[in-house]
Symmetry: C2
Subunit: 201 residues, 2 copies
Amino acid sequence: MAEPGRDDPVERLVEALARIPGLGRRSARRAALRLLTEPERLLHPLRSALKAAADSVRPCSECGNLDATDPCGICADASRERKSLCVVETVADVWALERARAHRGLYHVLGGVLSPIAGVTPESLALPALLRRVEALGVVEVILALPATVDGAATAHYVTDRLAGRSIVITRPAQGVPIGGALDVLDEGTIAAALKGRRPL
Amino acid sequence: MAEPGRDDPVERLVEALARIPGLGRRSARRAALRLLTEPERLLHPLRSALKAAADSVRPCSECGNLDATDPCGICADASRERKSLCVVETVADVWALERARAHRGLYHVLGGVLSPIAGVTPESLALPALLRRVEALGVVEVILALPATVDGAATAHYVTDRLAGRSIVITRPAQGVPIGGALDVLDEGTIAAALKGRRPL
């Protein structure tokens, strides 16, 4: 058999690669071939990078960010504003905000958003830890940078309720037209939000 | 730093993933995060699959196909027609032909096509091995399934020249309209080749 069977090492590699988001089965097969054809340049570096990452990268016990240190680089950075906490769904959101240099405070990764259908309850998210940190850090502003979905909005409401009674400003990022975005390719919800939130020039 | 530096294990993993064909830098970052977030389901299986592949998969010393055995499964398969040899550029081509169950003979992977610009000479391809195998196997048909490019055509000519004087039929796959292909989306070269090669119904 040239197209190897399921217990074949080549096929196992294709299967493992195909599970990576962004690689379909066809691209996984191409990727496997390239890894095997250029082991020195591709396969060996990937193996050692996976080993290093598996050995050292852990969720930060403070904020949930992934890093080789715990607390993570952000939580350990004394120059960051500790009274401003940005609540996000995933580590990917932390990285996106950091790339934009948009937030100088700390983060809190919930690890998901509330979803009755998917069975995501407050207990399965990092919500108790959020409340603890808000107290411990003396947080004065919580920025809820959660997805603009029904579940994201429900989660934002829930967090707002839980923080009620404290003297904390709760904000969320502005919604509107993306920089460089043409109006005619935007969905109606975004256009409506942008018009509703219009600002004087 | 949240977006990790170059010697950071997360960043090393992103770099190693970004070299895989089909994954850009952005998708590599997303893939790295998913691997790290779901190590049991994604990262560990990929590590062990890479180890198994690195440990066992080698080019077949006969045909150049990649397999966990040497000779590879195809070369070792006694039921295959040994006098019909299909010459291809890459291992990916072997797999594509096997998926189509298009060839019941053996293969020969050249490992590239001749290219004066890229410095690919006959010596850097598996051409001497091809001539040896043609002799040793008593091949009666050589199918040149090489890319339909200038370099592919030049390589086909070169191989044909080197096989001249032997009583071997040299063929190449038909060129024409793909199955299910609409004429109006095809390039002119393919349409011209399909018309030129027209067959009675």
